[in-house]
């Protein structure tokens, strides 16, 4: 008899979702669905607001990565004003985004995923969390928490608040880097860098024990998308879009973000509030692509900083052209922390960060604006249309996690196929599905622009839709 497994709710990710696994008559996995069950409606309720307010409003989409929304929104605003922002403002925005990448990646690796990786996927759920990690590896856990704090500190030093700083605005930024703030960052950098290097060496040793995970945690060919600079260097704030295939071949390059609609379609499924973006030339769902750390490392020609580029050469050995296992999102995340720290260090000697020429002034010069930045989880698009007075007529947000939706579904199915044989949910499978999803570091509150907690629910369903087994973890 065919069956369906449901995991609901899924834990240690940001947001709320459930997973259902459909079995065929032979008791094998037919398909798996990752349902995002939250709805918020930002695209609708922002209509009618002055575009000047959009950075402040959309930053509220997420408390983990408000900076990403702040930047993408301000950049969309820059386009509506049709101006180039002052060079100092761009550098300061970049600095804040690097702080954001460090803090968010540190959160994902140390707080959310390290318990699976270091304590073991089959260790007790009661201790397989950040507190269990603190008990087992106090120095490692502390260094990770401090690394996240370092990233948060940069955001606060620039924007006056760790969360939702109303600092990046259409036309530029509101304040520069003070000398005491510069000193504080400079003093903290060596410790942050040591933590990143230590985590990288720990992770590489762990890989020996996680051969199975690298094979089944979302290991399949897809396209990858990310921003790159004019010479293909890793980008996080500006640049153009590049798509590569699983062989590492560039299939579209230097695509101006304003042309995103020619390349990205958004499919809607009735069973989830999360849209499923796809690469339009290949259609839905063949146009499956991944974004985020793994994709950025696959699309870039180099990272542009010495230590990280050395790591990138080791990383590249894990794939044939592109690295296709989603398990390596963790590795890519750590390499990105390293390049972010190296770039922050380079900024510390730049006097322009203290400039007082920070904000360009203009009126409504374009009725449409697309703003793109690389959020920690992947490429983030804010697309606004305004009337002649600057009131928002239409908003389209394409969020990183949404773009990984198809890949996350396929990851769940791949893991389930490996572990589910018959109508009962095994604890090992539950842990691995969670960990597989967690590799993407999904942010569901962002991706549906939704609210709520994020516990795990898995349902096992028969072909007739009947519920066979269910596991819930609060």
């Amino acid at each position: 008899m065919a069956q369906k497994i449901v995991i609901d709710p899924v834990t240690r990710i940001e947001g709320h979702a459930k997973i259902s696994i459909h079995l065929d008559d032979a008791g094998n996995v037919a398909e798996a669905r990752f349902h995002v069950t939250e709805f918020r409606g930002f695209e609708r309720f922002c209509e009618g607001r002055p575009f000047w307010e959009m950075a402040g409003i959309t930053a509220r989409v997420c408390g983990i990565c408000p900076v990403s929304h702040l930047l993408a929104s301000a950049k969309a605003g820059d386009r509506i004003l049709a101006i180039n922002i002052p060079p100092a403002a761009e550098k300061l925005r970049r600095l804040m985004n690097l702080g954001q990448i460090v803090q968010s990646h540190a959160l994902s690796f140390f707080h959310l995923s390290a318990p699976d990786l270091l304590l073991g996927m089959d260790s007790s759920p009661a201790t397989r969390n950040v507190f269990g990690l603190i008990a087992a590896e106090p120095a490692f856990a502390r260094s990770g928490i401090r690394l996240r704090q370092f990233g948060q500190e940069i955001i606060e030093l620039l924007g006056g608040a760790k969360i939702h700083p109303a600092w990046s605005v259409p036309g530029g930024v509101r304040s520069s880097l003070t000398e005491p703030a510069r000193q504080r960052i400079r003093q903290w950098l060596p410790e942050a860098r040591a933590t990143a290097i230590d985590a990288l060496s720990r992770f590489k040793k762990l890989l020996r024990n996680h051969k199975a995970e690298t094979q089944i945690f979302g290991n399949f060919p897809t396209l990858f998308m990310g921003l790159v600079g004019p010479d293909g260097t890793w980008e996080h704030y500006d640049g153009n879009l590049r798509f590569v295939d699983s062989g590492g071949n560039i299939i579209a390059d230097q695509v101006a973000p304003s042309r995103y609609r020619e390349f990205i379609g958004e499919a809607v499924e009735p069973w989830t509030y999360l849209k499923s973006p796809y690469y339009r030339p290949l259609g839905y769902p063949e146009g499956i692509y991944r974004v985020g750390p793994l994709a950025r490392l696959n699309v870039c020609t180099s990272l542009g900083t010495p230590l990280a580029d050395l790591e990138l050469s080791h990383f590249r050995e894990l794939g044939n052209g592109a690295v296709t296992s989603s398990f390596y999102y963790h590795y890519a995340r750590l390499i990105e922390i390293l390049t972010a720290l190296e770039r922050i260090e380079m900024f510390m000697d730049d006097p322009e960060l203290s400039s007082d020429r920070l904000r360009a002034d203009a009126g409504i010069n374009s009725l449409e604006g697309v703003g793109v930045s690389e959020a920690p989880r992947g490429t983030l698009f804010h697309h606004y249309q305004v009337d002649a007075n600057g009131l928002i007529q239409k908003v389209n947000l394409i969020i990183a996690t949404g773009q990984n939706n198809l890949a996350m579904n396929r990851t769940v199915a791949q893991i389930a196929r490996h572990y589910v044989h018959g109508p009962k949910i095994q604890e090992g499978m539950l842990n691995r599905i969670e960990a597989g999803i967690r590799a993407f570091d999904p942010c569901l509150s962002c991706s549906t622009h939704a609210a709520g907690q994020w516990p795990l629910q898995v349902q096992l369903l028969g072909p007739d839709g009947s519920l066979l087994d269910e596991a819930v973890r609060a």
């Binding site: 607001r49 002055p50 402040g56 605005v169 259409p170 509101r174 009126g363 009131l391």
Partner: protein, 238 residues
């Protein structure tokens, strides 16, 4: 001018006969919460937050329009007053869409300050607000009815200080709104001199300078009082 002596919160206070209880209290350093009152322009008694108890009267009186009288006994603080002031404040919040976190006036808002002063940590009533269109047709300024508390400071400051009377009111109850000229878009209101006094007078984020982002709307109320005083005392006429 005859002087009157009254008691406010147990203190003997002297005042001119034409003064209001609010003015007398203010001069004596006794703070009464206000929202629609603005130094330099006439009072309207629109918000009722300055309600006080008057000995011998069963009802509460707005201090801003209550004239002083000999022997009057006023209480500005009591459990009953706190209860009513908080109720009024909650109703103001429930009537329009006041979301401080994303408001241009966040941190510089009299409504927000009052909520903090009166300990209003939540609203007990169902939010009744309906969406109003934002008017950003003016070259320099914007109007967001969703943040308006209908204090009419803009109406009074425009009429009394600038003398343009661009602003007025339309509608009743939940449909009441401030309007420019005969309900034209602000940018098309011929009577508007673009002086910005209304923007400086606004207690919330309802009136703002174009291009303001979260928390950027800081206002300079002293300018209005300065202009009024200079004119009344003919300071610039030798």
């Amino acid at each position: 001018m005859a002087a009157k002596t009254l008691t406010i919160d147990g203190r003997l206070v002297g005042a001119h006969e034409n003064q209001t209880v609010l003015e007398a209290a203010s001069e004596a350093g006794i703070k009464i919460p206000t929202l629609c009152h603005l130094d330099g322009i006439a009072d309207a008694g629109a918000c009722r937050l300055c309600l006080v108890e008057v000995a011998g009267s069963p009802r509460l009186h707005p201090a801003c329009v209550l004239k002083v009288a000999e022997g009057m006994e006023i209480k500005t603080q009591s459990e009953r007053l706190r209860k009513y002031r908080r109720l009024l404040l909650e109703l103001l919040f429930a009537e329009r869409n006041h979301v401080c976190a994303v408001c241009v006036a966040n941190g510089h808002c009299e409504l927000q300050d009052l909520a903090m002063d009166l300990g209003m940590d939540h609203v007990r009533y169902q939010y009744r607000f309906q969406p109003f269109a934002v008017d950003v047709t003016h070259r320099l300024f914007g109007l967001d009815h969703n943040r308006c508390v209908l204090c009419t400071r803009c109406v009074r400051v425009c009429s009394e200080v600038e003398g343009a009377h661009t602003w007025d009111m339309e509608g009743r109850g939940a449909k009441a709104r401030v309007i420019t000229d005969l309900k034209q878009p602000w940018g098309e209101a011929d009577s508007c001199t673009s002086c910005g006094k209304c923007v400086h007078g606004c207690p919330t984020g309802a009136l703002f300078f174009q291009g303001s982002t979260v928390g950027e709307m800081e206002r300079d109320r002293t300018r209005l009082e300065f202009i009024v005083t200079a004119r009344e005392k003919k300071q610039w006429i030798a």
